[in-house]
């Protein structure tokens, strides 16, 4: 069980939330939206690589071609 990946995602999410808040307060809503999208992309890439790993693992456990 890899808790570090979980904490990494949580950290990225927290950072993005803070950046978004700061940018919104500074009146730069457009850049805040961009920052949110970028953070989500980073997190999604991590999660998708995990999902791919799971698919490979299932394939190898059941010895599927």
């Amino acid at each position: 069980m890899r808790i570090d990946v979980l904490l990494k995602i949580a950290g990225v999410g927290l950072l993005v939330a803070v950046i978004c808040q700061a940018l919104t307060r500074a009146g730069r809503e457009d850049i805040a939206t961009l920052a949110g999208v970028a953070g989500m992309l980073v997190v999604l890439l991590t999660v998708i690589s995990l999902a791919g790993e799971l698919l490979m693992q299932v394939q190898s456990v059941f010895q599927l071609p």
């Binding site: 808790i3 990946v5 999410g13 993005v16 995990l50 698919l55 299932v58 010895q63 599927l64």
Partner: protein
């Protein structure tokens, strides 16, 4: 026992992180929940390999054909993956998408099993005089 403890602790911790993060950033909370679900499935699939080996051994001893046993493995893996996808969709709050993924998985499983059902029918027909 220690494995069960580990799983329970991990799930509770992940739920707390996701819940706390959801207040600040909704998508990040959902992503944490999804990653935690992936980790739990990883953990389970590692232990599933022992069961898969036992099943393979059993089918070999029972004299079931090699291709039938392989098909069984394939079906179990498909069901496992479909279940994972359905629960991930449900986590993200997409109830409708989850239902559609479940339906899609069921149809795919049925399509894989139909040749077997046809074999049974042929066998029954050959038994009748």
């Amino acid at each position: 026992m220690s494995e069960a403890l580990k799983t329970a602790g991990f799930a509770i911790l992940a739920a707390m992180i996701a819940f706390t993060l959801r207040a600040a950033h909704r998508q990040a909370g959902a992503a944490v929940a999804m990653a935690a679900g992936l980790m739990l499935f990883f953990f389970a699939v590692n232990h599933l390999s022992a069961a898969a080996d036992a099943l393979r051994d059993l089918s070999r001893r029972a004299g079931i054909g090699e291709d039938t046993a392989a098909l069984l493995m394939k079906l179990v893996a498909m069901a496992y993956l479909t279940e994972f996808a359905v629960q991930a969709c449900r986590d993200a709050g997409e109830e409708g998408l989850a239902a559609k993924a479940a339906l899609c998985g069921k149809i795919l499983l049925m399509a894989q099993t139909l040749p077997l059902a046809a074999q049974i029918g042929e066998l029954a027909l050959s038994l009748t005089p």
